[in-house]
C-alpha cells in the first residue's frame, strides 16, 4: 500500500507536461563550512494549459525551483521531465521572465523580441511579423525602436514577456515578473497576462509572494513553506474565465484569500523567528 502511494506521487500521470520528481537543492554556505538547504525534495506535476502560481515567503526556494526547471541550475537530488524527457540545460522550450530587468540594453524593443527567433534561424520578414504581433499583444505599439533604458519598468517587463512568448515555448516560467512594479501597474500587468493566457492557454508557472496575485491568475496555487522550501498546501482556484479585476471583490475570492493568508502567515512568522537567531540548518 505505502509503496504504491509513494510511487504514484513520484510518477505523476503520464499526461503531465512537466514533472518535477523529488527535486531538492542544497547550496554550500557562502562562507566557511556547512550547507544551506534551499529546497527539500519536492514533487510537482504540471498539466498542459495549466496556470499555476507558487506562493511562498522570501527565501523559501521559489526562484531556485524555477531556475532548476529552466535548466539554469542543477538539482542536488531528483530530476525534471518536460514531455517525458529529462531536462539537461536551458532551452527555448521553456521561456523565462526574470524578476530583474534582463532586456539586452543594446537592442531595441523589437530586436529584443526577435532575439530568440534569430537564434532559431527564422527569416527576417517572418521575425518582424512575429515581433509586431507580440508587440501589439503587450500593448507596446510605437515603442518598437526604443531602447530598454528608455522604457518604464512595466514596459520593460512587457517586452520581456513578449520576448518569451514570441519564442513559442511549451511552458512559461515567470519569476515574480511584476515584483518591482508599483501596485497599479502590477494589477494591469496581471490582467494583461491573464488575457494572454485566456487567449492561447500556454502552460504557466508563476512565482509570487503576493496573495492577491496568486489567486487572481491561477487555476492552482501551490504554497511553499519557509526555508527549506517544501510544498505546504495546494489550493484549486475555481473562478470562471474570463476573469475581470472585479473578481477580487467577490466573497469567493475573499474566502481563498483568507485560506492562503492563514497558510502563509505561519511560514512568514517562522522565517522571521529564524532570522532573529543564527542559522540552525548549517553544518549539515
Amino acid at each position: 500500500m505505502g509503496v504504491v502511494a509513494v510511487s504514484a506521487a513520484r510518477d505523476p500521470s503520464a499526461s503531465a507536461q512537466l514533472s518535477v520528481l523529488q527535486v531538492g537543492r542544497v547550496f554550500p554556505a557562502p562562507r566557511g563550512r556547512g550547507t544551506i538547504e534551499a529546497l527539500q525534495p519536492i514533487d510537482l506535476a504540471v498539466e498542459r494549459n495549466d496556470f499555476i502560481t507558487i506562493l511562498g515567503p522570501s527565501g523559501c526556494g521559489k526562484s531556485t525551483l524555477l531556475r532548476i526547471i529552466a535548466g539554469l541550475d542543477t538539482p542536488t537530488t531528483g530530476r525534471v521531465l518536460l514531455e517525458g524527457r529529462p531536462i539537461t540545460g536551458p532551452g527555448p522550450d521553456r521561456g523565462m521572465v526574470f524578476q530583474s530587468y534582463t532586456l539586452f540594453p543594446w537592442l531595441t524593443v523589437r530586436e529584443n523580441i526577435c532575439f530568440g527567433l534569430r537564434e532559431k534561424g527564422m527569416a527576417l520578414p517572418e521575425q518582424q511579423e512575429r515581433a509586431a504581433f507580440f508587440i501589439d499583444r503587450v500593448g507596446l505599439n510605437g515603442f518598437e525602436q526604443h531602447y530598454p533604458k528608455q522604457l518604464s519598468g512595466g514596459m520593460q517587463q512587457r517586452t520581456a514577456l513578449a520576448r518569451a512568448l514570441a519564442n513559442d515555448p511549451q511552458i512559461l516560467l515567470l519569476d515574480e515578473p511584476f515584483g518591482a512594479l508599483d501596485n497599479q501597474t502590477r494589477v494591469l500587468m496581471q490582467e494583461l497576462l491573464l488575457g494572454i493566457w485566456e487567449a492561447d492557454r500556454k502552460t504557466v508557472l508563476f512565482v509570487t509572494h503576493d496573495i492577491d496575485e496568486s489567486i487572481f491568475m491561477a487555476n492552482r496555487v501551490i504554497v511553499f513553506t519557509a526555508r527549506p522550501g517544501r510544498i505546504k498546501t495546494e489550493l484549486a482556484i475555481d473562478l470562471p474565465h474570463p476573469r475581470h479585476y472585479t473578481v477580487k471583490t467577490t466573497p469567493r475570492f475573499a474566502e481563498y484569500k483568507g485560506e492562503l493568508t492563514e497558510a502563509i502567515r505561519g511560514e512568514v512568522l517562522q522565517t522571521m523567528a529564524r532570522e532573529r537567531q543564527p542559522p540552525a540548518d548549517s553544518g549539515g
Partner: protein, 258 residues
C-alpha cells in the same frame, strides 16, 4: 553649484576655454614680467614665432606625420592582437587563468626601459618605435578587455540561454555587444598612453618625429620650439580623443542612455 547637476553645453564649453585663457595669461605674465628667464621658458609670442618657422622652414609637418604614423601603427598592431586575446580570456576562464598572471606581470614592465634592448634587437628603425608602443599598450589592453568581458551581466547570459542561444551565440550576441562600448572606451584611453610612449621612443636614437625635434631644440636651448612641440602633441591627442569619443557615441547610442 549642486552635486552632479548637469550644465548647459555653452557654459561647459565657455568654462573649458576659460581655463586655457587663464593658463596662457599666467604664462605670459610670468615670462613677459621677467619672473622666469627666457633661457628656461619662452614667452607665448616667441613660441608662436618658433612654431611658424618650424612649419615653414624646417618641414615640421613631416615630423608630425611620422609620429602619427608610428602611434597609429603600433597601437593598431597592439589592438588587433590584444582585443581578441582579452575577449578569449574574459570569456573562457581557463584561458584567463593561463594568461592572466603573466599579463599582469608584463604590464608593469615599463615600455621605456625596453628601448635600449629594442635598439639592440631591432636597430633604430621604424620597427623599434612600433615595438615600444606595442609593448606599452598590448598588455594593458589585454588585461582591461579581459576584465570588461569577464564582468558581463550573468543575468543577460542566462536570459539568452533561455531564449535558445548556444555558447557561440552567447559570445557573439551577448558578451561582445555588451562589452563593446567599454572596450572602445579602453582603446581611447590606451591610445592616449601610446602618445607618451612614442615621444619617449623618439627622444632616444631617432632622426625624425616630434620627439626628435624636441631633443634637437634642447641642444639649441630653443625652449620655444620645445613648448610648441609639446603643445602640438597635446592638440593632436585632443583631436584624436574627440574623434574617438564621437565615433563611440555614434556606434553605441544605447550606452549613453541612463
Amino acid at each position: 553649484m549642486t552635486p552632479l547637476k548637469p550644465i548647459a553645453p555653452i557654459r561647459r564649453i565657455t568654462l573649458g576655454i576659460l581655463f586655457f585663457v587663464v593658463f596662457v595669461a599666467i604664462w605670459a605674465a610670468a615670462t613677459f614680467g621677467g619672473l622666469v628667464s627666457k633661457v628656461f621658458l619662452a614667452d607665448p609670442l616667441t613660441m608662436v614665432r618658433e612654431g611658424i618657422s618650424l612649419f615653414v622652414e624646417q618641414g615640421f609637418i613631416k615630423d608630425i606625420g611620422i609620429t602619427v604614423w608610428r602611434v597609429v601603427g603600433g597601437f593598431v598592431l597592439a589592438a588587433v592582437l590584444a582585443v581578441p586575446l582579452g575577449i578569449a580570456m574574459g570569456t573562457y576562464r581557463p584561458v584567463g587563468a593561463f594568461f592572466e598572471p603573466f599579463v599582469s606581470f608584463a604590464r608593469y614592465l615599463p615600455a621605456s626601459a625596453f628601448i635600449p634592448l629594442l635598439i639592440l634587437w631591432a636597430g633604430i628603425g621604424e620597427l623599434q618605435k612600433l615595438l615600444v608602443i606595442f609593448i606599452g599598450s598590448f598588455f594593458q589592453l589585454v588585461l582591461m578587455v579581459a576584465v570588461i568581458v569577464g564582468n558581463a551581466r550573468t543575468d543577460l547570459v542566462e536570459a539568452a540561454y533561455t531564449l535558445g542561444a548556444k555558447d557561440a551565440g552567447i559570445v557573439r550576441r551577448v558578451l561582445l555587444p555588451g562589452a563593446a562600448p567599454d572596450i572602445a572606451e579602453t582603446l581611447r584611453l590606451v591610445l592616449g598612453w601610446a602618445w607618451t610612449y612614442v615621444i619617449v621612443a623618439e627622444l632616444i636614437g631617432s632622426s625624425s618625429g616630434i620627439g626628435h625635434m624636441i631633443t634637437d631644440s634642447q641642444a639649441l636651448l630653443n625652449t620655444g620650439q620645445i613648448i610648441f612641440g609639446i603643445i602640438v602633441i597635446g592638440v593632436i591627442g585632443l583631436v584624436s580623443d574627440f574623434c574617438f569619443k564621437a565615433a563611440n557615441q555614434k556606434l553605441f547610442p544605447w550606452a549613453l542612455l541612463r
